[in-house]
Structure formats: structure tokens, C-alpha cells
Symmetry: C2
Subunit: 380 residues, 2 copies
Amino acid sequence: MEREDILLMIPGPVVVRPRILRALSRPMIGHRSKEFGRIYDESRRTLMKLFETENEIFVITGSGTSAMEAALGNLLEPEDTAVTIENGKFGERFTLIAERYGKAKPVKFEWGRSIDLDSVEEALVEGAKVVTMVHNETSTGIKNPAKEVSELAHRHGALFIMDGITSIGGDTVLVDEWNVDIGIVGSQKCLGAPPGLSALSVSDSAWNAIVENPPYYMDLRAYRKSAAKEVTQTPYTPSVTLFYALHEALNLIKEEGIETRKERHRRAASAMRAAAEALGIVLFPQLNNTTEYSNTVTAMEIPEGISDKNLRNGMLERNVQISGGQEHLSGKIFRIATMGNFTERDVLTTIQTLEMVLKEYNIIKRIGDGMDAAESTFSR
Amino acid sequence: MEREDILLMIPGPVVVRPRILRALSRPMIGHRSKEFGRIYDESRRTLMKLFETENEIFVITGSGTSAMEAALGNLLEPEDTAVTIENGKFGERFTLIAERYGKAKPVKFEWGRSIDLDSVEEALVEGAKVVTMVHNETSTGIKNPAKEVSELAHRHGALFIMDGITSIGGDTVLVDEWNVDIGIVGSQKCLGAPPGLSALSVSDSAWNAIVENPPYYMDLRAYRKSAAKEVTQTPYTPSVTLFYALHEALNLIKEEGIETRKERHRRAASAMRAAAEALGIVLFPQLNNTTEYSNTVTAMEIPEGISDKNLRNGMLERNVQISGGQEHLSGKIFRIATMGNFTERDVLTTIQTLEMVLKEYNIIKRIGDGMDAAESTFSR
């Protein structure tokens, strides 16, 4: 049976609200029309508020990975070094991309462990053109220290590329205050739009360091040139439909209020962690003082007495979809997102469903402790 | 006033039919779900029919340009040469992309003129890894000789990359018979879906010639690996929403019948040319025997007595949008597409509107000659 009513609590794509879904089905318009220019411009201005930046922002038709590649492909030449901080899958992706354009110098930490700033500094001593970091690492449920790493990078003359794909729009990101040279967001995460678009902010320092020969489709100079035209546009045909949805998703964010939205994410992640504790579930990340729990995804160890498959299928049969672990964490952890336009009800429904599955496998004796802990967090 | 009822007769994006628009607003699903895998797989199979190929086909979240870059970025290394045939804007784009990855050796013809096969062969004598050609050049309204150029390329040991972005789904393309190593289509052209997706077919010879270090987001090996998984998927988050629409657009194509669809395009372009002749409008292309008029877009010279701006604004005020010329052809030609899910009524409405504008500027004395000529073509 095809089920269209699954509650998606995975770290993207997230549930898309009906009014955003409806925006998708507006009739097609030309992508060099004034109407498209207006939609794109308004979206860029709202994104600047979410990024907390005066830097210009561009939207690429492509997933977050395409924007990660745009960042590195526009800044790295074969002789350039990128210090790539890895403590999860997406940190690793930056390394893989950097290797296509220049030299990657990964600084590796165990997945789910904090970044040690001294090790990052050590890697920087020999010089690097850029430092990459994933702000919110959804593979492990942690939030990395963007401000501190940016400071380190700039102290050593490097630019700072920050993947904010799963934090911007749901958590505090201060691109200008933190001095982020390229910041990145994806449409299908905290923004609550469908997947297929990504956006980047580009600092003056980044513009000054841009390479001669970036990838063509992701050439940031072309995006800047097209955005500066009399009618704002993109260099190649954009997904007009997804721009409608992004625009509507950003309208919804403005209506909610950016601070209220962040607070909603913070409270939901707190509630999820409180529920885990009450249910005897161990949080996966092991943090020191530089790193925090993510506010948009909670990673937990799979409890004794149930397999990954049975846990997630048990949830899915009850119409709630959560995620497993990626790569070597597959079978070891599960992840629940609190990302985008979810409600408290969605969070409580997810916890309730989790409790039902745990009870079925005799891991807990009664339903309610997780929900009670979460509710206490919400009502605090 | 925002007008949502404009008849888009530009060469992409084209009008998207209501049932395809409705498919866009289906609820979000995870992109590694069985349901997504089913949608992707079915779409790939239908695309194989449209491409007339047994080669595997992959869909990229990105516009046609991203697929053009995927083709060249996966086949060219710095020392490799691409012979890039140019007789319009999109042919030129292949040159620009090839220069980012290897050496481009453009074979240039005046925009709108036929390709001279001897000149192409001359360029191939010194050897090349690939030859690129735009099958249907929308910037000038011509259809280039794919079979002949492919034969030339292979005779000289080169691979043949064919941009079928604006022909596949609306005109005859025989990827296997013509021996096309990489064929490309865009979602927003003859397929009648919204923009934001592109698809490529990859031959065995192309797989054997793939480079070590292609762009990351467009790495075709990653697409092949993900498509071969137990649940068919894409390597990075795809635009789920656009895949819904593409799937529905392909269903509509199957219902119409591929041959019927091509015939509809052929007749419409004939009708458009007949109308132009009846109205004293000169067709822009100057063709020899290797090249034909496009069946998906008609390029015409702007008649004496009206400016580009007045012509197109006159149409737009009457709710029909057509295109002007690109680059140096701006102000000299105008273009009307017969692409995707248009109807005879749409074509006749466009001609009628054109006649109204021409009469307003005293270029024709009475309304009806163009429509009459078109109608005769349709009813033939």
C-alpha cells in the first residue's frame, strides 16, 4: 500500500507543509521574467537574514552537495590545500570533494566526538587556503564550534567554508560575526522546502580568492553576474517550481519569526534528549566543551534487545520514519530529526511511537515515561 | 498584476500540464525509500524508450547545463581534446565547459548555418577524445546531423556526446542506432516537466573512457553505483518533488504514444513555418542538405517595421510569451517553441496573436493568412 501520510522525522527531506506543497503547483513562468526575478530576490533577502549576513547569497539548482562542491571548486586549485575537519560523514565528504580540486589535509576525529582545536591548529601551521567544517553534523547529532574554528582559520590566513546545510534556519548561525567566508544551506532541511536547491553566501575575501577555472555549472562569478542583471536571474535554467516553494517556505519562516523558530528547534531537541534519558537510551555523541548536541537531529544508540531493522520498521509500520546510522554506524545508532516545520505534536507522536516499539520488544515496561519527560521540557 | 495564465511558447521551460503540476504537490517521502526507487526506476525505463537505447540512464538534480558538464567532466582530462561543434549558443557552451576540463577545439559555423562535415573531419584528423554536438540548437532553430557526425567521430576514434536537451521526447533520437556515447535531455523541454532535472545515457565505450577525477556531484560512477543498489537511488539527495513530476510527465508521454508525440511536434513546427511564409516572415536558418529545421523551435527574422521589444511585448500583453534572439542575435530574430505538451490550439493561438501584433504595426493588412496556412498544414 502506498502511504502518503508518513511522518518524516529523518534529517532531510523533512515534511513539507501543505501551503508550500501548493506553491509547487503554480503555473510555470519563464526564468528570465520579472516575476521570477522578484521571487529570487525576495528569497535571497530572507536568506541573508537567516544567515545573519550582508554577503550576497546565490541559489543553485542542486542538492547541498553541489553547493559544497561549488565552495571548494571556486576556491581550490591543484596546488592549494584544504584542511578538512572530519567527525562525521559530511565532514568526510568535504575531504572527498577537496581531493578533486586540490590537496585535502583531513583532520580526523572519531565520528560523534568533539573537535579538538589544537589538532586543527596543528594542521594549519604549514598553511592552507581553506578550512572546511560541517556546522551541524547530522550523521552523529553534534554541533561543531564554528566561531572558534573560523577564528583559527583566519588567524592562519585561511578562508573558512561552513556547511550550515542542516543548521541554518533552525539554529543560530552568524555568518558575519563568525566571519564565515562561504556558508551553505540546503532547501530540504531546516528551511522546510523540498530538496533540490542549495544556497551559498560569499564573503569579499572569498571573492578575492576565487580561482580562474571553477566548475562551469557552479561558477560563482556567473551567479553573481546574472544576479546583478536588470532582472535578477540565474545563469542556467533554475528549477522555477522549487523557487516557488523556497519562497513560500521563507515566507512561512518570516511569519513564525526567526528567533521563535530557532527556539522551537532547541526545545524539541531538548525534549528528545530528555525522552531518551527517561527511556534509558544512550545519546551517541561524546562531547567535550567545544562541541554541543545538535538542535536539529538527535543520534542515539540502539538499545539492547532490538535490532536497527526492527526498530525502524516498527516505527515505519506505525507511520513514523526515522533514520539509522550511516556507514560504520549502520546498525549501531538511530537518528530522529527535529528539523523544519515540525510541531510539538510531531515530536510527541514520534516519542510515543518509539515507546510503543520499545514496549513491543520488552525494552520498557510501560508507555509514557519518554512522553512525560518531553512534555516537561516543552512546558518548562 | 500577476498573470498566471500566460501561454509559454518559449523553448523551455514549457507549459506544465495540470496533472503534472498536481504531482509536484504530493507529500514528501524519503529519497532512499522503496517508493522513490520505484519512481526513479520506472522513469529511467521510459527514458530508455525515448532515447531508443539499451544504455543505462541516470537523472541528475540540475539543469541541462549540469548534464553537459557531467558528460565532459567525466570524459576529459587536461591533456584530452574535445572537438566542439558550434553553430549556436549551446554548441558554444560545450566549448566553454570543455575548456574547464581539457582542450577544446571548436569547429565554428555561423549561427543558424549548417554544419559542414568536411570541416568537422578536418578537426578530427589530429585526434580527439570526444566530439560534442547540439542536436537541436534552440538558439537558431536548427537540427544538426547527429548520425553523420557520430559516424565521423567514431571513424576517428572519438566518443560522441550529443546534447538532445531540446529534441529527446519531441523528435526522433536513436541513441543506439546513431552510436551516441552520452545523450542528454532536460526535464523542462520536450518532456513537459518543470525545470531542474536532466538525464544522461552512457554507452559502454563511455564507461571505458571515464576519467579518474570527475567533478564530485556529477561523478557518473557514483550515479551508477547508487542505481545498482537493492533500492534504486541517487548518490546525493535528489529533488523528490521534481522526480514525481518527471514520472507523471513520462506517464503522459506513454499514454500519448512516443510516435504520436513526435508527429505532433513535426506538424506543429511545419505549421509554424507555413504561417511564417504566409505572413512574409523570413525563417532565420540557412540550411544545406546536412541540416534541417528544428521541430521544436522556429527561429524567424524580426520583420521590418517592428522592434524586438514591441513584438514580444505585444505578444506578452496578449498573454503569449515567445523568445527573442540570444547574444548577437538579440534584436534580430524571434523564436517560437512547439515543445512539450502544447496543443494545436496553442499553436494557432500563438499565430493568431502574432498576426494581431503584426497588424497593429501595419506589417500585415488583415488577420488570418498565417492561421489559414497553419490550419492547412494541420489538416493535411
